[in-house]
Structures are given as C-alpha cells and as structure tokens.
Subunit: 354 residues, 4 copies
C-alpha cells in the first residue's frame, strides 16, 4: 500500500530509507518479538523460575517459528494488539509440556516495547555512522573550499561577507552536538521492557530483579525499571530525530537559497528535471530536507501528546506512538541520506568578484 | 513496507481503511494521471489546439498504457516528481506523429494535483455515506435507548443525571454539521488543476479558458483558476478530516470512560483481549478513535505549514503535503469505520438504581 | 506581563493587534459575561420563568456592577473558573429579593462560552473589513502594476516569465475564498451557549426553547442546541484563522524572496534597520507574516486536540482552548495589519531588461 | 493585556507562574541586555580592544540607564527588533568620548539571545529546585502510603492490584530522568551569544576568542562558537520543558481518573467549586496539568519549525521562537507549581475491601 510516502513504491525512493525501513518490516518486528520470548525463557531458567529444558525448548521453538500473518492481523483488529495471538500460536508450536512456560509473567506491552527497542538499537548505530560521515564530509569541504568568499545574508538581505568555512561550521556544529546527545540518551532508551500485566513484575517468585538483569544481558540492552507508562525516553528520542532533521532542514533551506539563479553561490552535482522546463535544474533534495524537517517537527508534537499516558496502560497513547515514531525514524533516515548525497560534489562559488 | 500503521499488513487491519487505501495505491494514482492526460488532449482538441485524431490516439494510448514503476521511482528519486518520466514513457508509447501533442501546456503539478482531486472525489462520497450511516445509527439508538438515564459528568465528576438521548445528541450534531461543511467545501476542493509551467496557462493560443472548462467537464470536476500555490482548499479539507476524527475521538473518549468497570454505563458488543489477563474486555476501538483524533490534530498543523508555499511552486511545501494528506484521509476513514462498528450493538446501561 | 508577544509592551507593537486585543481584555470579557446574565434574566422573564421586575433589576445591576478582579482571580485559582465568584458577587450586588433569579439554570460554561462568542462577533467583522481592504488593494495593484513582467520561479529556480497580475492573483484568491468561508461558518459560530449544569437545559419548566430563542435575539446571536462538548465550530474557526494567516504567510515568503538584493523584483515602502549594518533594509513585516503563519499552524493542532472533550464538560480540553484560541485571533489580526502595511506602497520592479 | 492566559490578570493565577514570569518582564529583559553590553565592554577592554576607562564608563552608564519603552516599541514596530533603538539611546546616555565603544562588534541578535540565556539560567535553577521538591514529596508519599492497595488499570479497565508505591514510582521516575537531562543540556544551553553582524566575529582585531572567553566568564555563562543560526539547544530545551509538563500531565490524568466518584482511589486536599452544582469538588488542577501538557506538546512542534533557520539570520524563524519559547517556560512553571500543590495533602484510598 502507499498511504505513507515512506511506504510508497515510488516516493520512498527519495523520501524513504530502505536500510532503516528494513528494521520496521513485520518480519523484523516478529523476529524481535520472538527474540524477546526466547531470552525471557532463558533468563527465567537462569533465575530458577522455569526448568532449563523448558527454556531451551522455548528458545529453539522461537527460532523455527513462523506465525501466520493473517492470524495476527485478525488478532490485532480484534484486540488492538497482535501479541495474544502470537503467544497462543507460539505455545501451540512449542506444545506440551513446556508451552505454559513461554511468555511467563509477561504482558503484550513487554513484547512490543522490547521489540521496538531491539530494532532501535541498530537504527541508532546507522544514524550515528551517517552523521559522522556527514560531519566528516563537511570538514573536508571546509578544508578544500573553506576559504571561498560568500555573502553573509541576514533577514534575507545581503549583510557582510563570510567564508564558506563559516557556513560549513553552522551546518556541522548542531550535528556534532547531536552525536553527544545520542550518547546521553542511548542508555536511557536502549533498555528492556518487562513489567507484566500491570507493570509491577508480579508472579515471579521474588526473582524479578535477577530475571530482568539476565534478560537485558541476553538481549544486549540495559536493565531498567518497567517503563510501561513512562514514555519520556521515547519522546526524548523523537526530539533527537527532529533535532537532526531540523538541522538538516536548515542545510536544505540554505542550499535552495544559495542555488537561486541570481545568487549562484552553490553548485550541486545534480538537480531534478521538470516536465515543462527542460532548462531547469531543481534543488529537489534540498527542498525535501525542508519538507522532512517540517514533517518531523509536527510529528514531534504528536509524540509528546502521548506522554499523557493514563493509568497502567493507555491504549490511546500507545497507539498514537505507533502512528508517529516509525515515521519520524524513516524521515530522519531519509534526510541523512539526502544530505550525504547533496554534500557529495557540492561546490561553493565565489561571486564576490562578479 | 510497514513504516506507517496505515500501510502495515497487521496494524492496518484496525488502524487503516482498505476501501480508502484503494484510492491511494500507485495504480490508482497513475490511472488518475492518465485520465488527466487523456482528458487534456480531448479538451485541447475540442478547443482546436490539437487535432482530433491526435487527441483520440492519445486518449486510447493512455488507456492501454502501463508505465514501468521502477522507471518512475528512478525519476522520482532524481527529479522529486515522477511525471517527467511518465510523460516521456507515455509519449514513447503514443509514438509519432501525435506524441508531442500529449501533456501540451501542462506541468507536473497539473497532473499530480488533478490526479489527487480525482481520487478525493470518490473519497468524499464514501465519507459522506459513512457519516450519514453513523448519524442514522445514532438516531436509531436515540429512539431505542434514548430514555435510559445516565449520569452527566463534568470535570470528571458526577454532576446531574442526563439521558442517553442527550449523550447521543452530543455525538451526532458535530457529524451533521460536518456534512454541511462537506457540501460547502466540495465545490472548492473538487476542481481541476491546470496552469502550465508557472501557472499562467501560457502557450495555449488564447484558448485556455475553453480548455479548462472542457477539461473540467470531461473529468467531472469543477473549473477554477490555477491553484498551484493556493493550497487553502487542501488545508481546509484536512481541517474537515480532523473535525470528523476529532468528533469521533470525543465519542471514543466517552465510551472508554463509560465502559470503566466501576461506571459501566455502556456495554460494547465486543472488546479486545489481553495476553496476560483473560478476564478483560478492552474498549480498544474507542481508544483507537482517541489516538486517530490526536494524530490528525497534529497532522493538521503540518498541512497548514504547507500554506506557506513560496513563489510559483514550492518543492518543500508540496512535498510536505504528500507526507501528510493521504495519512489524514486514511486516519479519518479508519475512525469512521471503527465508530460504525462501535455503535453497532452498543447498549447504554441504567445504573441509577444500583 | 509579557510572556506572550501579543501581550508584550514592546513586541505587541509589531506582533500584536491593539484593536483585536481590546476585545480580549478582562474588562471586555466581564462586560460580555454581564451582558449574558442580563439577557438571560430578560429572556427568562419573557418566557414567564422569573418575574419581569426581577429581570429588570438584574439587568440594571449587571449594568452598574464592577466585580473585584482580585476576588475573581482567587476564585479562578481555586475553581478553575471565575464565574462562581462573579455570580456570587453579582447576586450580592443585586441583593434581595431578586438575587436568586440571576444566573438561573445556567452554568459557568454558558457564561464563558457565550461571552467568548459575543466578542468574536465584532472580531469577525473587523477581520472581514480588513480582508476586503487587502483584496481591494491587491486589485488596485493589479490594475496599476499588473502588467509588470516578473520572473516566475518554481522550486526556487527561474522558470518562465509571469506578470505581476499573476502574482497578485495568487495572493488575492485565497483571501476571497476566506470571505466565503467566513459567511459559511459565521452562523455556526455566532450562537449563544446555554445548557445548564450538564447541558440538558433542565430546571426551566419546559420553557428552555423559548428562553434560548429570546436570549439569542437579545444578544444578537443565533440560537442553537447546547454545544458545551461540541467544540467543532471553535476548531473550524481556528482553521479559518490559520487559513488566513497561512495565505498571508505565503505573501510574506514571496515578498522576502522577491526583495532579495540580487532579485529585487519588489520594493517596499519601508524596511527595518539593523544595529550592526546601517546599509540594510530588512523586510521584517514579511518575515513576521511567515512567523505568524507557522505559529498559527502549530496552534491549530493544539485547538484540534481539544475536540476530544470528554463527558459533559472537560476541564482539560476547555482550558486548552483558553490557552490557544485568543492567541490565534491576535496572530491573525496582526498578520492582516502587517499585510495591509506591506501592500501600501509596494512596487513591483521589471528586471527583465537588466 | 490578556491575550495569553499566562499574562491574564485572572487566568494567570492558576495557569501562570509569577516567579518565572518575573524573568520575562520587559524590565528583566532590558536589564539582561544592559548586563550584556556592560560585560562586553569590559571583556573588550580586558582584551585590549577598547580602553579601560571606556569600559568602566559604559558599564556604569548601563547600570544607571533606563530606556524609554515607547521608543523601543516604536523601534521594534519598525525594525522587528528593539536593539538598534536601545543601543542608540544607550550611546546617547554614555555620551562622548566613549559612546562609540559600546556594542562594539556586536549585533542585535547577540544582545537578544544572550539576554534570553541570562534569564533562562535562574529559570533552570528554579525548575530544578521544584522538580527536586516534587520528587521528594513523592518519595515521602511512597514511604507514608506506598503500601495502600490500588487497582491497576490498563486500557481503561480493571486489570490487577498494584500498590500506591507502584503508581508513585511511575510519576517520579521520569522527573528524576529530567534532572539528569537538565544537567546534560545546561552546558549546551547556558552559553553566551556573540557573533557580530554575520556571526563570524569580524572586526575584533583577532581578539575574538579572548573577548568571548572573558565575556562568558563575566556573565557566568559558558563560552561557545556563535550560534546565531544553530537553534538546536533552544529546541532541545523546549523538548525538556515538554517532557516535564508531559510527565506532569500523566500525573494529572491519573489523578482525575482516580478521583472519579465511583473509583475514589485518591482524595485531594482541595477541589474546585461549580457555579451550578455546589456538591461538586472538581480536580481542576489535575485537569490543568493535562491542558498544559497538551499545550506544550503542540508548542514544541512550533519551536522545532524554527530549526529551519535560513542564511545567517532568519527573521521568520527567530520571531517564531519569541512567540513560543517564553510560553513553554511559563506553562512548565505553572505545571510544576500545580503538581506541588496537588501532591500536598494527597491521599490514596484503599477500595479493595469495599
């Protein structure tokens, strides 16, 4: 289907991000969910809550299990969540005598949230690498072309001369700070979710802490208190996404302005064609950066609405996150890719002598 | 792919709307684009701008033409628009001697915007029918159960008794007004887009008015001045979508509150299951209505950002619309479907004597 | 105080609107509240619910009553609403024997919402006049300078020549449609609020319809069912505000782009000075139009969140409206004033021969 | 004036924050601006750019200078900034021979941004203290009442029992994380702004680094590269504000739900009165928390739009910040105060045995 540009067979080529999207397929999500169930069984065996052979059997069955998507879809349409159907089918797949030991003490939200975090982990690494690469390209541009004189413009009017190095500095510094922010939020965000029905880790024979610690280690995530209703780390992450796309949007706005024919202080390696005007070369990637920045800014407002997460689980607030967060990730990924392409072959032009 | 819940194989079963989504497939969009090109050729023939046989040939070729999606995707990734590649391929499909007569005087935005409006037309009819059906069900509920006493609650506290009829009234009236608003905005929204490269309908031998009038008639849309950069009618439409989903969100919030165990003033035909608590019956569709309302409210803010559409065409503002509007349509469609299901079999419970 | 630019002694000179703000002072609000109470008493006397002399006495006392603001502030801080204290003080001012007849069958929301609508009425007239004036100035500009050649620019690149008349057309048409929309929404918006404690107009001896009809006539508003929890007409009005400011934002963006030194296709009568660069003339009013458009777009999202108005009165949703709507009105007023100033003395410059 | 609830003589008693507002008065802003000018002169003297006696004279004159507000308002209305008029008046106040040494190498944005940061510094301290106090009260509540059984509720349905300690944990933990985040962002946010006309610190005889370092020390701020167009730290701060108010909004939503008559798991020390129903006790402060959370969430979207800050200074993006940031600060302050009051005297009620 193609309601969203990020899923659209044509639009996603420019506005989407295939590498990031691969972590948001149904298959990737189910695989992460099963990884959680397997690790949970093992952690519970390790803590002595369930037998070792039950855990090994569950883990093995998680590994060779392929759920029926139509069945999950039906469950989701009925229950607002696909986990009950997934667990039921998984238990049938496990069969006696260990089936009842799977998903023990867990609730749907444990599975869904942990599966999200498991996939955000590689996403953060990808984003980090891309930002580092862009920073490095901007630094190289500064070394190569930093001495090129440009006109500094304030309030859309010519002000005083600057150098390309000044401009590159403005583009680069927020991204460098975003890397610092990423280091700060990572340990808060990349933590396992495990709370059980109402978040109090009941029914675990007093072994909750040991189970969570082991579960986290097995999944290579941090351990943390249950955060079923504490959505601040997700909102903080979305802020980070919009900081990144917003700073890239500034680069896009600058490029589109500098590439105006009468100004011509920048030249791109490639431009977009027009169906009516073959002579044109449109800075379409720069414009997309502005669109993605404005999109993420508005979506961030939506994600923050989900902070008002009532009681021990809010179907309304949680569902809202599902509508928002993956798109913000995709938009940021696309913006990073577009920026990398734009910077490649970008040339500043000295117009001070014309 | 499944970045967006509306395109997600599992989530779209609850949060999406297959009937509406069918108008937002690539196939539906291309089909509408080709319908525009065919009608344009015929309108130009009718006005004497191009020969009749050219028009008939172009229209026939539009009819049996299937573009290569990969080619369009490549064009989109390069040009930020797929129309140049589509027109090029269509012209190759038409071949000599009429190929040059296709897309005459048109620009990409004419094709894309008109193709959007052509698909919004049936969408409006679907929405109208669904709202009418909900209003009718609410009226029937009022006739059947309107005398049931309920507790009126203000600021989350018991206030004074009301009747179910009062509650149904609150739910129904905004929807009835939305039908009026739909009648008002329809003639503004459902108009053909035709402006050429910079919106001034140049290069048409002074036949622009006749062509637009005929083009609109052929497409069964209204005629209007070029609205390349006047995006108010799209923003108005998105406001309408969010008014609808917002009013349905109020119904959802009410149902979720009334269905609380201790209050129990409403009973739904069906509830959602929990993976950890088999005794529960969750008002998940009601919660989804709240989530969809909050999503659309935030997205409306994004669409209104796109009103700042600079110069004669803004790639930034236009692209932003593509990221927003289809999702708002899908969210509204899903909310209408969920409301219809929720109202079906809904029972108000008199708790005044307990 | 000066938390908001619209209330700021310095910033409001540019970003505010003194004429509009005069309808949003405490004094204007209290005056409208008392007008409601007076009209309510008279309408209830007319319907035979309370004695005529009670009504005349109440109306007279409403007229010579000045409540103690500090007392209202204390009430608001305690009750989240100032009406209970206002009514109590008003009743003390009326004294025996008629005091109990004041505010009969009414609730705080009736007073607050009606007082809002009473003040929006003159605001709509002011906005209508200003839009008409701008449309008329744009038409005059078209007659005077419409033939001036300009460069049409798409995706921030030179495309094909247009005329100033084309540009003026783009600026003018959305505003003309906004006048039509105003006519459509006015009868929905300008209606009296009267519902009593839980919106069902209880305790009025079956005279509710007659009272509402008379009340509406006395206040020169429309009659309508109680809309305590049906906030669609307010959200629709905010959409209208953002449509207006958004279309003006497009004018602002165009002017700022055209006024760039290298492009110079427009000349403003006046520009802003810089503390560091005396040679500059900044298109600050044009930039403000963009800022106000983006502000209103985001605020519109907030107002639509308030559509999810639970039960028979939501303190959360209602309070949110108070935080949003007046600012959107002020922002729109300021944008209209700035546009009028900008258009005054604006000159298009033919650069095609340079 | 009273366009904004935060500036409204009546509404600000509940929705505003007098302590925070005192840092956003015109007087506070001008005082901070003059502190910047004084420190700048001294830093430049220290670096040998201007004579010592000039610096001391300028600093003394900054100290006894009271600008004419009407004059600044006129300047703002004309220039979109009040600094040119302020500097002109300050120079007249300084008089010969040192007048020309004031504001040397600085631009309006240096003054305005630094004056903002200077006032945000005490604001951060106030917020930190308030959050610490709330965390401490929640901890005390946990010690005193943590063992009280409550019903855990998921998706608005009774699920499984929890303890008050679990609920208090959910409320407390995000606030504790916000304290960590505050420590992280503080050194990024509390830095001096100094860049000159186009941000490149020109015209300072190569003494820029020394001047900035000294200027920062004198103002007790951090030193940093010019951030005229790098608005990420302000957007990050606004995210922090909305994280705080969002987490408090969750507390408000919980309280309003738990205080429902039929549920009654919480009792507040005080409730709000109703004009129509004297028997009611409304959780109005809890509702305000929800309203403020939703307001800030939407405003955050607006602030992030301002990340797209074009060229070397964007009047549009910068002005948008002025419309948004102070209100977010005020809303957060009010939410913290309301939460403190709500927690004071709050009692959890064991309903498990009824």
């Amino acid at each position: 289907m193609s309601i969203s540009a990020f899923d659209h067979p044509i639009l996603s080529g420019l506005l989407g991000d295939a590498e990031i999207a691969s972590h948001f397929t149904v298959e990737a999500e189910i695989s992460a969910m099963l990884a959680f169930e397997a690790a949970l069984a093992r952690a519970q065996a390790c803590a002595g809550l369930i037998p070792n052979d039950a855990a090994e059997n569950i883990a093995a069955r998680c590994n060779d299990f392929t759920p029926d998507l139509a069945d999950l879809a039906k469950s989701f349409a009925r229950d607002g969540i696909a986990v009950p159907a997934l667990v039921k089918a998984l238990r049938a797949h496990i069969g006696p005598p260990h089936e009842a030991q799977a998903h023990r003490g867990a609730t749907s939200q444990d599975v869904v949230d942990s599966a999200l975090v498991l996939r955000l982990k590689p996403v953060l690494s990808i984003f980090e690498k891309r930002i580092l690469a862009i920073v490095s390209v901007l630094d190289q541009l500064s070394r190569d072309q930093g001495a090129t004189p440009l006109m500094g413009r304030t309030r859309m009017q010519r002000a005083m001369p600057i150098l390309a190095a000044d401009k590159l500095h403005q583009w680069r510094d927020p991204l460098a700070r975003d890397l610092t922010r990423l280091d700060e939020l990572r340990p808060r965000l990349l933590v396992v979710q495990f709370g059980g029905a109402v978040g109090n880790r009941a029914g675990l024979d007093g072994k909750a802490d040991a189970i969570v610690a082991k579960l986290a280690r097995l999944l290579d995530l941090g351990a943390a208190p249950c955060w079923h209703v504490e959505r601040d780390c997700l909102a903080e992450f979305c802020n980070w996404l919009s900081l990144v796309s917003g700073s890239l949007g500034k680069i896009g706005a600058d490029i589109a302005l500098m590439a105006q024919n009468e100004i011509g202080e920048i030249k791109l390696a490639e431009g977009g064609a027009s169906s009516a005007m073959p002579h044109k070369s449109n800075p379409i990637k720069a414009e997309c950066l502005v669109a993605l920045a404005r999109f993420n800014a508005a979506m961030l407002g939506a994600q923050h609405q989900a902070l008002v997460h009532e009681n021990e689980r809010s179907g309304a607030a949680w569902t809202l996150e599902w509508l928002v967060l993956p798109q913000m990730v995709a938009a940021t990924g696309a913006a990073l890719n577009l920026t990398a392409t734009l910077c490649d072959g970008l040339r500043f032009i000295d117009r001070s002598r014309t």
